[in-house]
Amino acid sequence: MEYTNEKQYWRGLEELHQEPKFVENAQKEFERDIPVDELLEQATSSALTSNRREFLKYLGFSIGAATLAACTSTPVKYALPYVVKPNEIIPGVANYYSTTFWDGLEYVAVRVKTREGRPIKIEGNPESPISLGGTSARSQASVLSLYDNNRLKNPLKDNKPAKWEDVDNAIKNALASSIGSIYLVTASTISPSTRNLFNQFADKFKAKIVTYDAISYSGILDANQKCFGKKSIPNYHFDKCEVIVGFNADFLGTWLSPTGNIRKYTDAKRLLDKKDMMLHIQFETNMTLTGANADKRIPMKPSQEGSALLALYNAIASQFGKPTLNGDGVKLAGNYIDVVASKLVATKGKSIVVAGSNDVNIQVLVNGINAMLGNYGSTIDMDNSLNYFQGIDSEFENFIADLESGKVKTVIFANVNPIYNYYNSSKLEGLLKNVETRVSFAPTNDETALLCNYVLPDNHYLESWSDARPSQDVAGLQQPTINKLFDTRQFQDTLLTWLEDKRTFYQYIKDFWKENFYSKEKGSFEDFWIQTLQSGYAELKKVESKSYEVKGDLLQSAASAINEIKSSGTELQLYVKIGLGDGSAANNPWLQELPDPITKVCWDNYVTIGKAFADKLGLKTDDVVNISAGSVKVKLPVWVQPGQTNETIGIALGYGRKSAGKAGNHVGMNAFPLVQLVNGTRQLHNHVTIEKTGEKYELAATQTHHTIMGRSEDILREYSHAQFTKLEKEKPVEYVTLWKNYDKNGHYWAMAIDLNACVGCGSCVVACQAENNVPVVGKKEILMRREMHWIRIDRYYSATGEGLNEQPEENPSVTFQPMMCQHCDNAPCENVCPVLAIAHSSEGLNQQVYNRCVGTRYCANNCPYKVRRFNWFDYTNHENFIYNPVDDLGRMVLNPDVVVRARGVMEKCSFCVQRLQAAKLAAKSAGTPMADGTATTACQTACPANAIIFGDLNDPNSKIAKYYHNERSYRVIEAVKTYPHISYMGKVRHQIDNPKV
C-alpha cells in the first residue's frame, strides 16, 4: 500500500504562514553568505588597493612567518603514574558505579561512568524497578554540575571564607542558646537515613522540621490523607492501562516520576509485537509534552479543571447508576467528557485518571473517580506508594507566621532556596533579617545563601553517601564516585557533628540499613550491603495493593468547593520545563541549551499564548509584555504557541535566577511570584492582565533551523489505529546507484526509531552532548542557527482541518522525530568533499574525519537531512564561550575517548563509533562472537522510552534485524535515494470520534 497522508506538517507558525524570512532561510544551510561583494566594493572605494608587488611582498612575508612559526619546538609532555595504583582502576578503562540521582523533583537510579576516577557520563540503571533504566535530561546533565566552578569551595561566615572548625563551634553555641526555637527548612528528601537524622536533630534541639518543595504536591498528599488516611503519593502503573485521562498533569514531562512514567506509558503504547495499544486523552491548558503525545488533546482553562472532573465524575456515576454529586461541571469541547466517561467505564479497572492541580478538592475528586473505576489495587498502587514529596504547604506558611511573631532564633536551610522560589519572597526576605542565626547548606552562594550568615556548602551528589527510598518497596543507595573536589562537607555529616555523633554519615547509613532493611535470610550484612551497592537498590517487602473507596460526603464537599471556582479574564498556567526543572540546575549550560520539547526555544522563558488570543491582543512572537497579577509584575517576551487554550497564557518556572552562576544568571524572568496560595496550597495558576510594552526581544528557537529544504513529503508517517491494523510490510526499496555498491559483510550498523514510542523528552540530546564532547554555543550563536547538537528532536505540528481544527494552529496534533546523521549508503555528503574528509566504512558508517576536514561546508549544504554541524569558533578555548568547560576543572567532564574538535571543521553523529569499537574489542579479546546489545549508542541507552533500537543488521538473531523492517518502517525522504541506515517506524494514534461535535 502506497503511503498517503493528507495532513499538512509544519514546524512553526512561520512555516505554516510561509513568512518571508522563513522561506529565505529554508533555502540556505547557513545564516549568512560570505560577504565577498561587499568586501570587494570596500576595497575599491577605500585605500585598500594592492598591486602585484605588494601581493608578492605579503606572500613572501607570510611564507616566511609560517616557516618561522613552524619552527617552534614540540612541548615536552610528562606521564605521571599513580604512586600506589588503586586495584580497581586501570587507566584507560571505565568503571561504573550505581548511585541515585534526586534533584528535589525527580528520582533516577543511575550508573555513573568514571574514567581514572572522574565521573564523565550518567547511564540509567537498567535493573531499577522505579526508573527502569531510563534517564532524564536533568540526570544526564548532572555530571556537568559537579565540575561547576561556581560551587563554593569552602564554608563562608558572613560571606568570608572560614574554617569548618570555627563555624561548627559558632553554630553549636548558637544552637545551644536557641533550643526550642530552631527551624530546619528542608526540601523533600527520599533518603530514609537523612529523615531519621532530621528527627534525631529535632529531638535533641527541640527543633521544628519544615518540609518545603519548590513545586508543591501538597494537594495530592492532603487529599490522600483525607480519603485514605495516608499522606503519600501512589505509584501509577501506566503500563497496565487501556485508557489514561490526564487533566493538566504533565506526567511524561515533569510530573512526579517522568522517567519511569515514560517507560510504562510507552510500554502500553508499543506496537512492536502487538496490535492493540492504550488510549490517552489529555485535557490541558498549555501545550505540554504529555498533551503532545496524547491520542486526543483537548484545550482547557485552569479554572475548568475542577468542573471538568466533576462532570466526568457525574457522567461515570450515572453510567454505573451511582449517586451523582451536586453541580453540572463543564463538558468540554462539545461533550468530550461523555466520550471519555464511556471509554473509562468500558475499561473499568484498567485505566488511570490523573490531575496536576495542587488543589485538595480536585485531587479528592480524582481519587473518587479512580476509586469508582476500581483502579486502586490494579493500576494505582496506594500501598507501595512513592516517597518523593512530603512538603505540606501549610507547614511553610506556619513557619512564615512563626517568623513574623519572632519565634525563630535559628534557621537552617537544607537543599531549599525559598528566597528564589517562594511566591512571596520579598516578605520572607524582610522577616529573615530578624533571625539571629541563619545557616544554609547550599552548594553555591544562591539567593537564600546570600542572606545567611553561615553557608556550609554541601557536596555534589556524586561526592556523597546517601540512600533513597523512592517507593515503599524499593530502597536504593547513593555512593560517591569521586573524592571531594573542594573543601565541602555533605550536610548530613555537618548535622552529625552538631549532634556530637562521632560516626560519619556513611557509617550512619550502614547502621540504619542494618536495623531497618536487612534481615537474616539475605545472608551476612556485609554481603547484603556490597550487593546493594553494586546493584544500586534493594527490593523490600512488597505489600499487596488493595482497592480503596472514597466517602460520599467527602466528595460532596469537594464538589461544592469546586463549584465555587470562577473563571474570569486571562488565566495563567505556570509550568516546569523538562530542562531546568525548578531552577536549581540553572547554571548548567547543557540544560539551558536543551531546546524546550514543544517550543524548541532555549536560553529563555516566555509567555506562551494562542494564535487567536494573540491576534486579539495584537501580539506577535518576540513582543515584550508585562504580566501582572495583583502587585506582581513580570516582563517577558511573547511566544505564539499553537494549541495554547484560548484566553490563557503559560509561563515556565525556574528562570530568572539572580545568583546561579555565569551561565544561569539573568536568563529569562522569575515567574515564581505569580504562584498563588489558594485554600492553603500553593497553586500554579493565577488570573493576570497583559499589557503590551512595545519592546521587542528575540527568542532563540531551533525548530525552524535545518528545514530539510522544503522537501516536506515523506518525512513523517502517521497512521490512525484503524489504518495501522491493516498495514502490511512494504517491499524494500530497490537499490539503484551510480556509485559502486558497498559489500555488506562484517558488521552493518543500523538503527530503528519507533516514533510511536518517542515522547520527545530530550534525554538523548543531553546524553549525546555528554558522550561526544559537543560544545555549548550560547544564545547569540543559536540565533544565527549555529547550534551544535548532533541529535535534535524535530517537533512537527499537523492538522487535518476537520472538527475542532478549523484553524490549524488552534489545536494541532504533535509528532516528534529524533533526527541525526542517517549514515546513508548513498551519502550525498561523501561525494562533494574535496579533501575526502568523509568516508564510508565497511560497517556502513559515514565517517567524518576531523583532522582531514578543511571546512568547505559543501557537505552540510548537500545533506538532505541537515544534520551536519560546523565549528564556527574554538568553542572550548574561546573566552566568549564561557559555558563550555574552558578551565581545567570543567575539562574533567570530557570523554577522553572522543576528540575535542578544532575550529573550522565539520562534525556530526558518529553512531558513537567509540562505543562500537570498544564493544568489538571486548568481543575480540574474549574470542567470542559479538552478543547483540553489547554495542550501544548514547542516545539509545539514555532513552527512557526505549524508542531507539540499535545493532548489527547482519546478525540474524539481533533485535535490530527483527524490527528494522516492519509494517510501519520507512526511511526519511526515501525518494532521494540516499539509503539511510536509520529506519523510522510511523506514529499511530487512536482516532476519537465525537458524534456530538
Binding site: T74, K77, L80, P91, S841, Q917, S925, P929
Partner: protein
C-alpha cells in the same frame, strides 16, 4: 725563474706528504685501538662464560625472575642468604626443595622442618615448571655470584682498586664523532694527494723538457661543457630532484620524533630489567592487555622488588633511592613521555597486543636492549597503515572473526580447495578505514 718555482714547489710538496702520512698513521692507530678494545671485551666475555659448566646466564635470568623477590645471595631478605647453599645440602635435595618445599617439609625431613620453623613458617612458592637443568643453572649462578661478591669484598677490603670485571660501555656518540673526524682527514688527504699528483706530473714534464699542462685549460673545457643545454639540463634536473626529495622527506617528518630519547628523572634501564632479568613487559605495564594505555608503572609496582633489592649493578643505591623517596613521599615520578600521538588519533594497546597478538617490539623496537628508551618507530600514519596492510589476521583462530567475518573464512576455505593460500590482512577487515583511529 719558472724552473726554480717548480723546484720550490717540489720541496713544499715533500713536507706536505710527510704531514699527510702522519695523519694517516694517527687515523689508523685510532681505528686499531677501537678494534682491539672490542676484541678484548669479547675475549674477556668468552673467558667468563667458559669458567663454569652450568648456564650461568640462564640461571641469572631465572634467579631474578623467580627468586630475587625473596632471596639475595649474600644477605638474608625474606628467605635465607643463598651463598654457599651447595655446601649446606646436596644437589638432589635442593632440586626437590626448590621445586616444592612443602612436600619436603611434609615428608618430615628434619632440616626442612628446622628451616621452615626458623623462617616463621612462611611457605616458599613452589616452582613445578622448573626443570632439573634450570635449577642446576640457578645453583650455578648462585655459586658464581657468591664467588664474585667474595672477590669484591676482598678487593675493597684491600684498599680500593677496580674490580676489573666491569667494562665501561663503548659510547656510540664518541664512536660516531671519531668516524666523522677520520673520514674528514682521509678526504683531506685524498685531495692533497690529487693536488700533489698534478704538481708532480708538471715537474716530470718540465724535466723531460715538455710544456707543462695548463690546468686552467681543462677548467675552461668544463665550462664549455656546461654550456651544452643537455648536460646543464640534466645537472639541474638531478639537483632539483634530489633537493625536492629531500624537502618532501623533511617536510613529512615535521612533527614526527623518531629517535626521541629524553633524559628521564630516574635512570631506569630497560636493558637491565627487560633484557638481562627478562622481566615480562606486562609485569610493570599492567594495562597493556586490558586498556588502551599500557600505563607507566606506579611506584608501588617498582617497590614490589625494590623493597628487597636496594642496590643496582650500575648506579648502586643512587637511582633506587629516588624511587623509594617518591614512594615514601607519595609523589608520582614525572616521567617524560616518549611516545606521543596527536589528540585526534585513538590508539589502543589491548587491541594490538591481545586481539592482534603483536609483540611490543614490533612498534617499540629492541626495548630490551635500550639503556634509555627512545622512540623507535616514527609513529606516522603511513607507518601505521603500512603495518595494517601487511599484517595477517588468522580468522579461524578467534570466534569473533569466524562469526562476524565468516565471508573471509569461506573465501579462505574455497581458496584452499583450489590449492591456493590467501592472505587476509588487517586492511581487508577494514583496518584502513578512518574511523578505526579517528573519532
Amino acid at each position: 725563474m719558472k724552473k726554480f718555482g717548480i723546484e720550490k714547489k717540489y720541496l713544499i710538496l715533500q713536507r706536505f706528504l710527510k704531514l699527510v702520512s702522519s695523519i694517516h698513521m694517527i687515523t689508523l692507530s685510532i681505528i686499531k685501538k677501537l678494534i682491539i678494545q672490542k676484541a678484548l671485551v669479547a675475549v674477556m666475555l668468552f673467558f667468563c662464560f667458559s669458567q663454569s659448566f652450568a648456564d650461568v646466564e640462564n640461571g641469572k635470568k631465572l634467579f631474578s625472575g623467580r627468586c630475587a623477590s625473596c632471596h639475595a645471595v649474600d644477605k638474608k631478605v625474606v628467605g635465607p642468604a643463598l651463598a654457599g647453599i651447595e655446601t649446606r645440602r646436596d644437589e638432589a635435595w635442593l632440586i626437590k626443595w626448590i621445586r616444592n618445599s612443602s612436600e619436603v617439609i611434609k615428608s618430615g625431613d628434619a632440616y626442612a622442618v628446622k628451616i621452615f620453623n626458623e623462617y616463621n613458617k612462611s611457605v616458599m612458592t613452589a616452582f613445578p615448571d622448573l626443570s632439573d637443568d634450570d635449577i642446576k643453572d640457578i645453583l650455578g649462578y648462585i655459586k658464581e655470584e657468591a664467588a664474585n661478591s667474595g672477590k669484591d669484598n676482598q678487593a675493597s677490603a684491600g684498599g680500593g682498586g677496580s674490580s676489573g670485571v666491569s667494562q665501561p660501555p663503548v659510547d656510540t656518540d664518541t664512536l660516531k664523532f671519531l668516524l666523522f673526524v677520520t673520514t674528514g682527514l682521509l678526504l683531506f688527504a685524498a685531495l692533497a694527494l690529487l693536488f700533489a699528483a698534478a704538481i708532480l706530473i708538471n715537474v716530470l714534464r718540465s724535466r723531460e723538457g715538455k710544456e707543462p699542462y695548463s690546468w686552467s685549460g681543462t677548467m675552461k673545457t668544463m665550462g664549455d661543457l656546461m654550456k651544452n643545454p643537455y648536460i646543464a639540463g640534466s645537472i639541474t634536473f638531478v639537483i632539483l630532484a634530489v633537493g625536492s626529495t629531500k624537502l618532501v622527506t623533511h617536510a613529512r617528518s615535521v612533527g614526527l620524533h623518531q629517535g626521541y630519547q629524553p633524559i628521564q628523572p630516574i635512570a631506569f634501564s630497560h636493558k637491565l630489567h627487560a633484557g638481562e632479568y627478562g622481566i615480562a613487559c606486562n609485569y610493570c605495564h599492567v594495562g597493556v592487555e586490558k586498556s588502551k594505555s599500557a600505563t607507566i608503572p606506579s611506584a608501588n609496582i617498582c617497590m614490589n622488588c625494590h623493597n628487597y633489592i636496594e642496590k643496582g649493578p650500575q648506579y648502586g643505591t643512587k637511582e633506587i633511592e629516588k624511587i623509594k623517596k617518591h614512594y615514601e613521599q607519595g609523589k608520582p615520578v614525572e616521567w617524560v613521555r616518549i611516545h606521543n600521538l596527536p589528540d585526534f588519533v585513538y590508539f589502543n594497546h589491548q587491541q594490538h597486543v591481545v586481539a592482534g597478538g603483536q609483540q611490543c617490539q614490533t612498534c617499540h623496537g629492541p626495548i630490551e636492549e635500550m639503556e634509555e628508551v627512545y622512540q623507535y618507530s616514527d609513529l606516522s600514519m603511513g607507518w601505521c597503515i603500512n603495518c595494517h596492510r601487511q599484517t595477517e589476521v588468522d580468522v579461524n583462530k578467534n570466534d569473533y572473526y569466524t562469526t562476524v567475518h565468516n565471508e573471509w573464512v569461506e573465501k579462505k576455505e574455497n581458496a584452499k580447495k583450489e590449492g591456493k593460500e590467501i592472505k587476509i590482512t588487517v586492511a581487508d577487515l577494514g583496518g584502513l578505514e578512518c574511523a578505526k583511529c579517528h573519532y
